[in-house]
């Protein structure tokens, strides 16, 4: 049974695209057929993070408008044969997506894939509401700071009212993915604590992704962090999150600083 997941946040720059790519690659590595869909028409980025920007011929808008067939637009990942990308168009805008067209494409994807992961654009307008419209489950990406938390709260309200599932009177499953978590700054009290964010948003925690240079390095080489450096701290956090998405019970550990004796000595001196 195919599952449609929307990765959303309201606020921009919190890590939706990074998380879409990383979760997609992590699920695909479980040998489950996965497609990541870029809903950010006009400001597409998922193709870059997936390293597929030079292979885009047809895009989501072409398929929605009937100019291309779905298999023509899907791009298979070079590293993982279970991972696919449906890229957005860069030359169009969000008005090119129609509700009927999106529904048709999602239904077609459901016949071929186990996981359909929709990368939502920022904001609460048409693009974002279309991305969440047909989801079975939502991953709400939030940074531990007040503006991001408030925007996520707003998005949760929309998930509970504007989605097809909500309109049918069903409950949308929502999960919190806390990204760019910096253990050092949290200890100093410069950031919201995990408990504070959970208390405000009151949705279950899917995972905590530590702030790391590995994430930036991975997107610069055009690979999801779960493919580029699968042993890194953010990658293993994403792998655990993917297992939780698939229904496994994995306890969430709050990242703390791991420094050896040398690290402590030099770390102090450097500071």
């Amino acid at each position: 049974m195919a599952k449609v997941i929307v990765v959303t946040s309201g606020k921009g720059g919190v890590g939706k695209t990074t998380s879409t790519a990383a979760l997609g690659a992590a699920l695909a590595q479980r040998n489950e057929k996965t497609v990541v869909v870029d809903f950010d028409v006009g400001l597409r980025n998922l193709d870059l993070v997936m390293g597929a920007e030079r292979r885009v011929v047809y895009d989501f808008v072409n398929v929605v408008q009937g100019d291309a067939k779905l298999p023509q637009a899907l791009i298979r990942d070079k590293r993982l044969e279970t991972l696919f990308l449906l890229p957005a168009s860069q030359t169009r805008d969000k008005d090119s997506l129609t509700p009927e067209g999106v529904e048709r494409v999602i239904n077609e994807l459901k016949r071929h894939f186990d996981w359909i992961i929709c990368d939502s654009p920022a904001g609460i307008e048409r693009g974002a509401t279309l991305a969440m419209r047909h989801a079975d489950m939502a991953v709400v990406v939030t940074n531990p700071e007040v503006s991001s938390v408030r925007d996520s709260d707003r998005i949760i309200g929309l998930l509970d009212s504007k989605t097809a599932k909500a309109e049918r009177g069903e409950r949308m499953e929502k999960h919190l993915l806390l990204t760019r978590y910096d253990a050092k700054r949290a200890e100093r009290g410069d950031m919201l604590k995990v408990d504070d964010v959970l208390e405000i948003l009151s949705i279950p925690l899917l995972g905590i992704i530590p702030e790391s240079m590995d994430v930036l390095r991975a997107s610069n080489i055009g690979a999801p962090v779960t493919l580029a450096d699968s042993n890194s701290a953010p990658a293993s956090a994403y792998f655990e999150a993917a297992r939780r998405l698939a229904g496994e019970v994995v306890p969430v550990a709050i990242p703390s600083e791991k420094r050896g004796l040398f690290g402590k000595i030099f770390g102090r001196r450097a500071a």
Partner: protein
């Protein structure tokens, strides 16, 4: 020309569709000016400067009950309010002689006043506001039972719960950027981080209760306090708030 009119008429007569008229109630802010008007306007300006955009896009009703002003002064007042982007949708409690064409319509008890008021034989004296008061009282006694609604989920940022008919109870938190507007009291079994407006249709006995006070704005019967005005020792506490005169009182709940 005549032919054209005729076809139009037959078209209307054969069209079976009726015109749909619907009643709808809106929550309006009521302003009650007092004399001297320039002082009152100065206070309004200071309120507006503290809470920018408070009147923006909100329907405003001018309550002139017991206010002794004449028609030119009222005209000036409406113009002054217009300059401040306060658009008056109706005037309540004004003597019929105050009105002239082009002014916002006369209203009574939140409903548009009937035409018969103007045609009555009584001279336009101070009696007119008195009858207005009596009719509002009659409306109030007609619906004595306090209604209430219960929200069983957290109220998220951007959502607003408006219930002029009575009490609002939220089992959960009210997020920053969310608002609860109740005609009666507001009860929040969770953290109040957004706005709570109790007694919004003029009920000074309304109260606000919350398990954890972190509100952006609190108001009872139009008297309001922003987060900056609240004493720091109440933050994060379980609190009830009520009105004594023009002051919002607060007490920690144990």
């Amino acid at each position: 020309m005549g032919y054209e009119n005729l076809t139009k008429m037959t078209k209307v007569l054969t069209d079976a569709r009726s015109i749909r008229l619907k009643g709808r109630s809106f929550l309006a802010v009521v302003l009650s000016p007092d004399l001297p008007l320039d002082e009152w306007l100065a206070r309004l300006d200071s309120l507006a400067s503290r809470s920018a955009g408070f009147f923006l896009g909100r329907p405003v009703v001018l309550d002139l009950t017991d206010l002794k002003i004449d028609r030119p002064t009222l005209k000036d007042l409406i113009a002054e309010l217009g300059k401040r982007n306060v658009s008056v949708m109706g005037i309540e409690g004004g003597r019929p002689s105050l009105f002239e064409p082009g002014m916002p319509p006369a209203m009574k008890g939140g409903r548009p006043a009937s035409d018969f008021e103007v045609a009555s034989d009584e001279p336009a004296t101070d009696e007119a506001p008195a009858t207005g008061g009596a009719s509002t009282a009659a409306i109030a006694t007609a619906t004595p039972a306090t209604q209430s609604i219960v929200i069983r989920e957290p109220v998220r940022s951007g959502q607003s719960i408006i219930f002029p008919e009575g009490d609002v109870t939220v089992v959960g938190s009210v997020a920053s950027g969310a608002e609860i507007i109740a005609g009666g009291s507001v009860h929040i079994y969770g953290a109040l981080r957004g706005r709570a407006l109790a007694g919004s249709v003029g009920n000074s006995n309304a109260r606000i209760f919350c398990r954890k006070l972190e509100a952006e704005l609190l108001a009872i019967d139009g008297i309001y306090k922003t987060a900056d005005d609240m004493p720091a020792n109440l933050r994060g506490q379980s609190v009830q708030l009520w009105l004594e005169g023009d002051a919002i009182m607060a007490e920690k709940l144990t």
